[in-house]
Symmetry: D2
Subunit: 412 residues, 4 copies
C-alpha cells in the first residue's frame, strides 16, 4: 500500500493535462485521471491509453451526457439564461456538471485533492473550484497553471512540447489549431490564438457543429416544440412527422437540424468574472432553437408583471452561472423563483428554421390570458372602449402636473 | 368668420378617419386634417384630395422623416431599446414623433382640439394622447372610438362603409387586407384580422419591406457600421465600397439591404399597456441591423458593471416608450442616464447579413479595455496567474461557510 | 319577495356612507350594510342601529382582526414591505382583507353589487375594487363618489349634512376633526383637511395610538422577538418576563408598549397610484417594532446575495400592495419568492425601545453563516490572510485597465 | 543620498502601525508617515513625535476635513447612500478620501510604495488599495498583515507589544479598549473584541459621539434643513435662530445636536465584501439627521417613477462604495445618474429631534408637483372623479382575465 497522496486529475487527453499528469507524478502523487463525457467528440479509448502510459494509476471515464442535458441544459432553457445578451452558457453549465463527476469520483477513490489544467486568467478554474468547494469544502485543489513553480518551468507551448518529448508523452501529429476549443453536447466554444484579435473575423473552417449558411440546406424546416412548465418535452418535425421526447434525443435532433441550417453561431467579446474582456466564438445549434421557442412560449403565457420580475431574475442567474456560482445559496434561491414563474409556461411553439435564422411563427397554449375576442379590434368585448378614457386621463394627470411645474420634458 | 371650434384630425386617408372627418363636420366642428410623412408608402396627394372632398378645411402634410430618424430611431438604437425581448418599438417611437407635428400644427392653426382614429383597446391612443398632453396639457382630445355615441353608430366595418357611401366618401376599390398595418421608415407592423389567431402563421404575402428568405439574395453582404457615442455615424458596404452617413441615408440603405436579405421579421404576442395580450408581426430590416451592431459595440466597449446598470435602465425605458411615456419626467431622466453610458461606445462593427441572419463578425474601438495581451492565454501579462488563487479562495469562503451551516446547495 | 337588486355596502357608520345608504335606497336597491372589525375603535352597536334606522335591510359586522393580523400583517412583516422607504402599508393591507369579508358576505346574502364610500382620487377605491374583481370578476361595483349624478348632488360636506337632516340620519354631535383618519389594529392613518398643507406640522392632539415622546415613559423597555422563517412567533418582555405568542396578542402587546414609548409616528408625502402626491401621517407602533426586529434578523441570517435579490423583490411587492394588487398574479408570484427567501430567517432579536426610538442591540440564530472566529481580527481562522491579496489584485485589474485607456475616474 | 526605496505609510499613531513602521525600516526602506485628519480626535503632535522617534524620515499630517465633508459626505447624502438598509458608510467614504491624500503625498515625496496597517479580513485594505490603484495603477502596496513573513512574526498582540518594548516604541499607558474603533467627522465605528459576539449588547461606555438617550437632553429641538439639488445648503435651529451654511459647519453643528439627543446609533451585523459577516456598531449623529431630511425632501420633490429608478441606483452605489469602488467606472457613471435625479430636490424640511428620534414634520419646495388642491378630498379639482372608473376598469381587466383562465390568486 503506497503512502502517496492521491490526486484526481481532470484529464483531457491533450498536451497540457498530459504534462500536468507527468509533473504531478514527479511530485510524488498517485494520480487518477478523470474524463467526463458531456458529449464532446473525443477518442476516449486513446485518451485512456495515453494517460495510463504516462503513469496514471487509473482512468475514469464517466458518461455524463444525460446528466448534463437534464440537470443543466434543460433548466438553463427553462430559466431563459443568456449572458450579456448573447451567450447561452454552454461551457459555464458544463463546469458544475463535470464537477459533480469529479467530486463523486474523488470520493469513490479516496482522493483528497483534485487538479485541473485550467489557466489562471480564465473562468473555468473558478467554475470548477467554486463548484467543488461548494460540494465539499474539504477538497483540496492543485491548479498547476497558478503555481509559480509550474509556471516558471512551462513558460510557453514549447516548454510543454520539450517536456512531453523528454518523458515520452505522445503528441498529436496534426498541428494544433490556432485557437482553443471546448466542446460538449450543447455547444462548442472557441477562443485564444488568432481569435484574440476581435477585429479579425473567425475563419469558416473553425466551425464544427454548424454548416455555413452559404452551404446549408436550401429547404426550410418547421418544427413544433412543446413545453411543460417551461421545460421542453417534445419536438415534432413537420415534414417527416418525426417526434422526439427524451431531453437527450431532443437536443441531439435539434443539434442536427440546427447544424444543417447554420443555426446558433455567435461571435462576441464578453466580460470575464476576473474583469478582463475576451473574445469568444460559439456555436450552439439545438439550444438556440430551444431558447427562441421558450422565449416565445414564455411571453405568450406569462403575466406581464411576472415576466418583468422573472426577466430581472434571469439576468442575475446568468451572471451567477457564468461566474461559477451554480452551486451557491443565491443560485439555489433564484432558481426556485425562476422555476416558480414557469408553472404556466406550457404549450406548443411552431418554428421555421432556415439559413441560420430561427423564427417563431405560431404558438398555442391553454395557460395564457391571450383572448382572441378581447384582442380583436373589431369587437368591443369585455373591456368597454370608454374605460381607456379614464385610464389615459389618470396617466396624463401626472404628466400635466409635471408640465405645470417644470414645463415640457426635454427629449432633444 | 366662423365661430366653429377647430379640430386638427390625425388623418390617414383610410376609411376610418375619413368617416371620422365627416362625422366631426356633422357635429359642427371645423376640421383640418394632418398627415405626418414618417416614411410610410402613401399617396399623400390622393389622400389630401379625398379629405378636401369630404370637407376638410385644410390638409397639412408634414415631412417628418428626418425628425423621426434623427430624434427617435437613432436615440432608440443608442439606448438599445427592445420591448419584451423582441419588439424594436417602430410604432411606439413614431407616435410621439407624429404628436410633435400634430401639436405644432394645432398651434399654428389655432386648433384647441385634436382627434384621431385610434381604437379604444390599443396602445396608440395612449401614446398619442399622453404625448400631446405632455407637450401641452391644455389640448383637448376627441377620440371617437371611445365615444359611446360614435361607437353605437359604427358598430362594425359595415356601418362605416354604409356611412361612406351615404356621404360620398370614396372607398378604395382594392379589398381590405385581412389585417391592419402601420408603416413608417423604421418598420411595418401588422395586427388584427386573421393575425388574431396566434396559432396560425402569418401569410407570406403580408410582408412588404422584406423578401422571404426563400427568395432573398443568395449572396451574403458585409457592412461596417461605425458608431460614435452609441449613435450610428456611417455605414460602409464592403463589396461596393459605398458609404452612407446621414441618418436618413443610412437607414434607407440598411432597409434596402436588410429587405433584400429578409432581415428583421418577427412574429410575437406582446403585452399591451392596457393589460391584454395581442399578436403582432413586425418587419424592421434596417433597425435590426443597427441593433445587432450596436449591441456588439456596446458589450465590446462598456465596462462590465456599467453594462449591467445600463441594461436595467434600457428595459425601463423600453416600457416607458411602449406605454406612451416618451415625453415624461422618467423618460427624460432615464434617457440622460442611458446616453451617459454611451460616451465610450465608439468604433466599428463588421456584420455579415444573409438570409434573415445578421451576425457581428469583427469589431474595433479605441474606447475599450479589451487588451489582447491580457486576454491571451499564452502570455501571463499584467495579471499574475497567482492572483486568481486568492480571488477564488475569497469567493469560495462564503460558499464553504454556507456549507458548514446549511449543507450543500440543492440544485436538483 | 322583493324583486329589488341587492347591494352590499361597505359601511362605516359615518356621514358619507350613511348618506350613500339612503341614496341607494332611494335608487330602489335593497341594501345590506357590511362592517369589518379590523381592530379600529368603533361603536359597532351604535353603527348597526343607525344603519337599520336609515333603512338597511341588515347589518353584518364581521370580526376580521385575527384574519387581518395573521394573513396580512404577519406576511407583510415577513416580506419586509415598506412603501417609498417609510410607509408600512397599514391601510393598503387592510383593504384586501376587508374585501374578503365583503365578497364572502355578498355571496352569502346573494348581493351581486357592492358599494363603498371611497372617493375618486384616493387609493382605497382601487384597492377595494381590484381586490373584489380579483376574487370574483362578476361582482358589480357602485362607487357613488365617481358617479356624476351623485357628485353633482353632493358637492361638499354641507350637501351631505342637509341630506342627512332632511332624511333623519343622525349626525355625530362632536365636531368633525379637521382631518380624516383610517384605523385598524396595525395603524392609524391621517390625511386631508389641515394636513393637506405639507409645510404645517401635524398637531399633537391628532395622534391616538402613540404618546408624544415628551410625555412617553421615562423607562426604556427591552424585548426579545423570536422569528421563525421570517414570521414573528413570540415576544418576551425582559423586565416582566411576560411572553406572548399568538399574532393577535403579540401585535396588541407591541402596540401597547410602542404606544407608551411614542414609537412609529411618521409624517410624509407619498405618491398615490393615480399619480398625485398626498400627505399622510401614520402611527404604527407595534408593526414598527416588528419591522426593525425583522430587518435585523434578516441581514444577520440571509446570504448576502439573496438579501440583495430579496430586497429588490420586496420593493416590487410594496408597490403591488400599495396600488391594490394584493390579489394578482404578480403578488402571488413575488410573495412565493419572498417567503422562499425567509427559510433561514429564524432566531431572536433583542430590542431597546425608548422615546420613539427602537434599536436592535443583540441577536442570536443558528441559521447564519456569522462565524465569530472567522470575523475575528485577532485570529487568522479559515480564510488565509494572503487570499485577500489575490482578491484585491483581480479586482484592481479592471480599474487599472480602465485607467490605462480612459485615465482616472472623475468623482468631482 | 540614500538609494533606499521610499515608502509612504498610512500611520495612525497606534501600536500596529508603529510596529509596521519599525519593521519597514528594518527591511531597509525609507519610511515617511502619513496621517489624514478627517475629523477624528487624535493628538497629531504626539503621533508625529512618536513616528519620528521610531525612525520615520518625515511625518505628513494633512487636514482633509473639508475635502471629506464636501467631496464625500455631502455627495453620499445627496445620493441617499445606505448599505444594507442601515449603515451610512462613514468609514467606507473616508477610505477613498484618505487615499487621495496618500497618493498626492506619495507623488510629492517620490514614494513608489505605500503601506498600511489594515488587516487581511477587513474591508479597509480593499478600499485603500482599490482607490490607490484607480488613482495611479503604478503604485505599489505593501500590506504587512497579508505578508506571510510579517504574520508569522506577529501572531498576536503580545508579539507586537514585545517588539515595541524591544525597539523602544512607546506604548499607550491606558489599557486598550476591548474593541477597535475608527473615527472621523461623520461617524465612529466600533468592531472586534467583545463586539464579535452579536448576542451581547454593546456597553454604554463605548459611545463617544452621542449621549445615551437616558441622559440626553429633555428638550426637543427643531431645525430646518435647506437642500439645493439634493445637497444640504443650510441649517436653521428654531429656538436660537442660529444658521449654518458651509458643509463643515453644518455637519459639526448637526453632530453636536445629534450627539446631545442620542441620534444615530446603530448596532448591526453586515456582509463584508470578502463574504463574511461582521458585527459593527456605529454612531453617526449629524449625517443621520441629514439623511432623514434628504429622504423626506426627495420623496416630496421627485417624480414617482424617477424615485423608483433612482432608489435602485442608490442601492448599487452603496454597494460600490462599501466594496471600495468609489473610484471606478461604475461609480462615476452611477453617481452622474444619481446627481441627475436630484435637480429638483430643492426646498426645506423641518425636523424634530429628540431622544434618538429624528422625524420630518413639515416640508416646503417649489420643485414638486404636490398640489394641495388636487390632493384635496373636498375638491374635485383637475382630475375628474369619473376618470378613476376607467383607470380601475382597465387595471381590473388583466386580473379578470387571469381569473378566467387560472382562477383566484392564492395568497394563503
Amino acid at each position: 500500500m503506497s503512502g502517496k497522496e492521491k490526486i484526481l486529475l481532470a484529464y483531457s487527453g491533450g498536451l497540457d493535462t498530459s504534462c500536468i499528469l507527468k509533473w504531478l507524478l514527479e511530485k510524488g502523487y498517485e494520480v487518477i485521471c478523470f474524463m467526463a463525457d458531456v458529449g464532446q467528440e473525443e477518442d476516449f479509448v486513446a485518451a485512456r491509453e495515453k494517460a495510463l502510459r504516462v503513469g496514471a494509476k487509473d482512468v475514469i471515464i464517466k458518461d455524463m451526457k444525460r446528466t448534463f442535458v437534464e440537470k443543466f441544459v434543460w433548466p438553463a432553457i427553462q430559466m431563459g439564461l443568456v449572458y450579456e445578451d448573447r451567450y447561452l452558457l454552454g461551457t459555464s453549465l458544463a463546469r458544475p456538471c463535470i464537477s459533480i463527476g469529479l467530486m463523486e469520483s474523488a470520493a469513490e477513490h479516496s482522493c483528497s485533492i483534485i487538479s485541473h489544467g485550467a489557466t489562471g486568467k480564465g473562468n473555468d478554474q473558478i467554475r470548477f473550484e467554486l463548484s467543488c468547494y461548494a460540494l465539499d469544502p474539504k477538497i483540496k485543489v492543485i491548479a498547476p497553471w497558478r503555481l509559480p513553480e509550474f509556471c516558471k518551468r512551462f513558460q510557453g507551448r514549447k516548454d510543454l512540447l520539450d517536456y512531453a518529448q523528454k518523458h515520452g508523452i505522445p503528441v498529436s501529429a496534426t498541428p494544433k489549431a490556432p485557437w482553443s476549443m471546448d466542446a460538449n453536447i450543447m455547444h462548442i466554444s472557441y477562443e485564444s490564438g488568432i481569435l484574440e484579435n476581435p477585429a479579425k473575423a473567425a475563419p469558416e473552417e473553425l466551425y464544427q457543429m454548424t454548416q455555413s449558411v452559404m452551404k446549408s440546406s436550401n429547404t426550410p424546416i418547421k418544427v413544433d416544440i412543446t413545453f411543460k412548465e417551461g421545460l421542453p418535452v417534445s419536438v415534432l418535425e413537420h415534414s417527416s412527422g418525426k417526434t422526439l421526447e427524451t431531453p437527450l434525443e431532443v437536443l441531439t435532433f435539434l443539434n442536427k437540424i440546427g447544424g444543417e441550417h447554420g443555426v446558433g453561431r455567435v461571435d462576441l467579446v464578453e466580460n470575464r468574472f476576473l474583469g478582463l474582456k475576451s473574445r469568444g466564438v460559439y456555436e450552439t445549434p439545438g439550444a438556440t432553437i430551444l431558447h427562441v421557442a421558450h422565449k416565445d412560449m414564455e411571453v405568450y403565457c406569462l403575466d406581464r408583471e411576472i415576466f418583468r420580475v422573472k426577466s430581472f431574475l434571469a439576468l442575475k442567474m446568468a451572471d451567477y452561472v457564468y461566474n461559477g456560482f451554480w452551486y451557491s445559496p443565491e443560485a439555489e434561491y433564484v432558481r426556485t423563483c425562476l422555476v416558480g414563474a414557469q408553472k404556466n409556461v406550457s404549450g406548443k411553439v411552431t418554428l421555421e428554421i432556415f439559413k441560420g435564422h430561427v423564427m417563431a411563427i405560431a404558438r398555442e397554449s391553454t395557460k395564457t390570458i391571450y383572448n382572441q375576442e378581447l384582442a380583436s379590434m373589431d369587437v368591443h368585448g369585455t373591456l368597454s372602449p370608454y374605460a381607456a378614457t379614464g385610464f389615459i386621463e389618470v396617466n396624463a394627470m401626472r404628466l400635466k402636473e409635471h408640465y405645470r411645474v417644470f414645463g415640457s420634458a426635454n427629449m432633444e
